[in-house]
Symmetry: C2
Subunit: 94 residues, 2 copies
DNA sequence: TAATTTGGTTTATATTATAAACTTGTTTAT
DNA sequence: ATAAACAAGTTTATAATATAAACCAAATTA
């Protein structure tokens, strides 16, 4: 009746991050922080979890002299996101 | 950009319970347990939280000689559920 | 009458989410 | 030149959460 919701995606901030990356395919830490309104600490932790799960990749470099963390969604991440959205619908359809 | 998700509804089991009650307007504990696949303990706790929040009401009685807990969604609960669904869409739309 | 089942509730535990505090380096002001 | 403020994160402490295990009372069954 109700499909299982991937607990890694069923989190407000991680879902927001994934949502941005589904649309953009590339976003840096600062952009994600502004787009989601999250604190840097929280964002850092959630990016780690998504990376460990293999849902996104992180590329650390510099933009001028400042550190820059670029995030991208993986094929697995995209598939899992789509499955999550599909599972959610089993809870929302009246 | 992203709408805030009511943390009370953003929980797999509570969302499932609300989803049942949106469609049924009345369901007892046993039905909810079977429909959601939850353990009785977990369901009991989550029903309490939804009740405390004013999202559902609980009516305790008997069905024959056995105790029966009937749950119904409130107007507030229905409104909040609809707002939650709406907020969720801000995360899902591509 | 002992064991099992039913319909729950309470409580213990492990996981999570989150912000505060911290780090490393850069830019700005004095 | 040096101190103060800022930028881009990371680490860690804490509070909240989800969940199942353990429990209870009454009814049913063996």
């Amino acid at each position: 009746m109700f499909k299982k919701l991937d607990p890694l995606l069923h989190s407000e901030l991680r879902l927001a991050v994934m949502s941005v990356l589904v649309n953009l395919e590339e976003a840096d830490f600062v952009y994600l922080r502004e787009a989601t309104g999250a604190t840097a600490g929280n964002l850092s932790v959630q990016i780690d979890k998504l990376t460990t799960a293999g849902y996104i990749t992180v590329e650390k470099g510099f933009k001028g002299k400042k550190p820059q963390t670029i995030c991208r969604i993986t094929a697995t991440g995209l598939k899992t996101f789509e499955e999550y959205v599909d599972a959610l619908k089993s809870y929302l359809n009246q």
